[in-house]
Every structure is written in C-alpha cells, then in structure tokens.
C-alpha cells in the first residue's frame, strides 16, 4: 500500500471539504478575510447543513479523485436546524468506522465542528488535515481508476 513513498515530495492531495452554510462556511470566510491561510487544494462544497452530506457524497468525492474528505458543521447543540449535526455525528461515526473496517485509511476522513467565529480553527483544521493526508499519500483504495485515466 505504501508504494507511493517515492512521489511523496511532489504529492499535493485533493481535499474536499463539505462545509455547512451557517457555521463552517462562514468560518472559512472569516479565515479568508482574516488572512489566515489554508491550503489551496482544499475544495469547499457548501451544504445547507452537515447532515445534508450522505455517504454517497463522501464516496463520490473519493471516486472523483479526492484523497481526503472532511465535513465541517456547527458545534453540536448549535445547529441552525437544531438537530442536524447530531445525526451527522452518528452517521459519520458509523461510516468512518466502516471504511476503516474495509481497510480504507481512517485518516482520510474527518468531521470537525467549526463555528462562524472560528476562522482560526478552520485554518488550523485544514492545515492539519492536509498535512495528515499528504503524509498518507494518494488515495488508491477508494478511487475509480477510470477517472484518473489520462492524467
């Protein structure tokens, strides 16, 4: 599996971040306007609530070439829709455990709670996640070979 070591230096992972509209997306905004940097290879997808993300989204992101997928939502208890992120928490706990069970590196997936005021946290989380995934290398276990053809 770790046969990607030789290319590690040049490897920049594709990261998909699903951010809830109300907290985390605003957090990302704040990070931007506060000139806090986070890597450019983080592609943010805005969702109305973290619980809008169903497992298919996560897998589809991996299929299309993501090396890591992170979900960001409001802190538990602060959901704009009151309870959405509680469901997210259960779903993703089960999904991530399951992916791990199938031998897919558990470091590739993560859930973080980032409020609209936590620009700093957003930037830190993204930097850390990108670092983790970069060290892990390219996603080879949950990707579609056809997508990467011709690259």
């Amino acid at each position: 599996m770790q046969d990607v070591t030789t290319e590690k230096k040049e490897f920049t992972p594709n990261i998909v971040a699903f951010c809830c509209n109300w907290c985390s997306y605003a957090g990302a905004d704040l990070a931007g306007s506060s000139r806090l940097s986070y890597p450019a290879n983080v592609k943010i997808i805005r969702v109305p609530c973290s619980c809008r993300v169903n497992p298919t989204f996560v897998l589809k992101a991996f299929q299309q070439g993501a090396d890591g997928v992170i979900l960001c939502g409001c802190h538990p208890g602060d959901c704009h829709y009151v309870t959405g992120n509680y469901y997210t928490r259960r779903r993703m706990a089960l999904l991530f455990n399951f992916l791990n069970y199938m031998g897919i590196e558990k470091e590739r997936t993560r859930v973080e709670w980032v409020s609209a005021a936590e620009g700093q946290k957003f930037s830190a989380v993204m930097n850390d996640f990108v670092k983790t995934v970069t060290e892990l290398g390219e996603n080879k276990r949950l990707t579609d070979l056809r997508v990467k053809e011709g690259e």
Binding site: L59, Y86, Y87, M92, A93, L94, L145
Partner: protein
C-alpha cells in the same frame, strides 16, 4: 419436521377454507427436496404442492409488501428470523399489518445444499436430522453429516426467537444458544488495515452486480433504488472497476444500517458467496457498541439508531480511533 409441515398445512387449509384469508404465502415443492420456492397459495387444491422442510431458508417477509396491498388478508409462515424483518417492514409502513395473518413456525436451522454437495454428496433424496447428526439419503446411499457444517451461514449464529405478538405459533421456539455472531467481524477488526483491505478486495472482486442481495433484502424496500435512478449519479452496472463494487456494497450496507435485522439473506443468495452479512454485522456491532444494544425488528415501533441521537454521542474521530468498542 414432517409434523410441523403437517400442522402448517392444516392451518393453511383451514384459513383458506374458512375464507379468513385470501391467500397463504409459504413454500412450494421443487424438483428436488432442496429447491422449494416461495409461493402463494390461493386454493386448497394448490396446497398439494405445499412444503416445509430443512431447505426452506428463504425469508418470506418481503413478499408481504406486495401481498398486503392485495384484496383480502394474506397468511404467511414466518420463521423466527423472518419475524424481525416483518416487524421492521411494518414499522416502516411498507407492509399493512392489518392485512397480514402471521403464523410463526419453528425453525431449527436450514441447510445449504451447496455445503452438502461440497461434502461430496449429490442427488439428495431426503434428510433425517437427529440433534447434530444429519443422515443424508441420496442415490449413492446414506451419508451422515455434521449439522453445524451444513447449515446456511445465516443459521450458524442465529439466536433469534419469535417476535410477533398476538399471533399463532406452531410448535415451540428453538432453545436458546450461546454463540457470538460477531466473532467473524472481530476477526476482521483484529487484522491490519492492509489485511482487511486485501480480504474485502478479494471478496468484492467476485461481485457480479446481479443485485440479488439488494432484491432479496427485506430492508431494501425502496420503490426506486438509488442504484436504479439515473439522476442519482451512481446508477451504473459497470463491473470491472473495483470502485463500483465498493461503492455499491458500502452504500447498500449503510442504507440498511440500523434497519438490518441480520436475517442473512444477502449472503444466502449471493451467487459468488461473498460474506455480505459481515458488512451489515459491522454496522450492527458498532451501533451496539457506540449507542447501546439495538436489535432491529424486535418491535414494530420506535426509532432506529440512525434516526435518533443523544447529545453526548461519541465524536466520529474518537469512534474510528477505537475510543469506544
């Protein structure tokens, strides 16, 4: 088994004759002793082909989705494990409870004919079971086999008891057993990620995308499956790329998480013998471990683990890192 079959037949006859039910769903004789097929009997005359034997492994509960929409009541024979699926279907409003007359029937495990054949016995004519000994009569003579070795995989670890209320039950429940149904899951968990990956890769590569697991699954009761919906972006029938099979099986397992009763039909029907139940059992085990013991289908009401929450649920990262087992 013969006496159970006789009692079932009597009940079926009585129910049809009295007009209490319009049809009875049970099993119909096949070409051999081991290939009974699910069938619906509408007249006493049709019951001449009725059969209940050691090979009636099919779960009949899913047929009730259609049957309960028909005119008149439907009687159905459900084994202990099937009653869980039935409850779950009632809970999800897929089956109209008032249109169904459940007759719970005894089951002491069902046999997998492929496992018998794998032991070199073919042309099976009859089986006789005494405790753990199975006398298999065939053209070639008589062979004694060890019962646990020829059970359907789903029966190997079954501890289920009847879960239907206010209905008739034919004969006693099976004695309680002490088996760990998660043993295989634990074995996989104990492996390294690389080993697990290799295991599932080898298994899922066998998948031929026949959809038998989905179509037989009582929890897969969607009117239109996401994999059949061109607008979903994941409807595909491609088979050569490893991702497609992973995607299908991960999503399918997730979609039934918290609703899967562990009836084991997915593994029974898989033409390539992929141990699909180990996917669903992982979810069951995790739900038990993370959110408290839960058995889908134990009742026909209440919320499932994925449609409820507590404020102090474990964080996904902690769950993955094994903070709680």
């Amino acid at each position: 088994m013969k006496d159970v079959e006789l009692k079932m037949l009597e009940r079926a006859k009585a129910l049809l004759e009295s007009g209490e039910v319009a049809r009875v769903i049970g099993w119909k004789k096949g070409e051999f002793i081991y290939d009974p097929a699910p069938a619906s009997f509408e007249t006493v005359d049709e019951l001449k082909d009725f059969v209940y034997n050691w090979f009636c492994g099919a779960n009949l509960s899913k047929y009730l989705i259609q049957a309960s929409k028909k005119e008149g009541k439907t009687a159905v024979f459900l084994k202990p494990c099937d009653t869980y699926s039935f409850n779950q279907l009632v809970k999800e409003h897929r089956v109209k409870r008032e249109n169904i007359h459940v007759i719970a029937v005894e089951c002491l495990g069902k046999f997998d004919v492929a496992k018998i054949k794998a032991q070199g016995v073919s042309s099976i004519v009859d089986v006789e079971v005494q405790n753990k000994e199975v006398k298999v009569k065939s053209f070639g003579g008589e062979t004694v086999l060890n019962k646990p070795e020829i059970l359907l995989t789903k029966c190997e670890t079954c501890q289920k008891t009847h879960q239907v209320k206010d209905e008739e039950i034919i004969l006693h429940d099976r004695p309680e057993r002490d088996v760990n149904r998660f043993a295989e899951v634990e074995k996989l968990e104990a492996m390294t990620p690389d080993e697990r990956f290799a295991f599932w890769r080898e298994q899922l590569q066998k998948c031929i995308r026949c959809n038998a697991c989905r179509n037989v699954c009582p929890a897969c009761s969607c009117v239109k499956c996401v994999f059949d919906n061109p607008a979903s972006g994941i409807a595909a029938k491609a088979n050569d790329d490893k991702f497609e099979e992973q995607l299908f099986h991960i999503i399918r397992a997730f979609h039934v998480a918290g609703r899967c009763t562990d009836c084991g039909e997915c593994s029974r029907v898989c033409p390539q013998n992929i141990p699909l139940h180990l996917l669903n059992r992982k979810f069951i085990k995790d739900i038990d471990g993370l959110y408290g013991e839960y058995q889908a289908g134990e009742t026909d009401e209440g919320k499932t683990p994925l449609t409820s929450y507590t404020e102090n649920d474990i964080e996904p990262t902690d769950a993955v890192n094994g903070e709680a087992k």
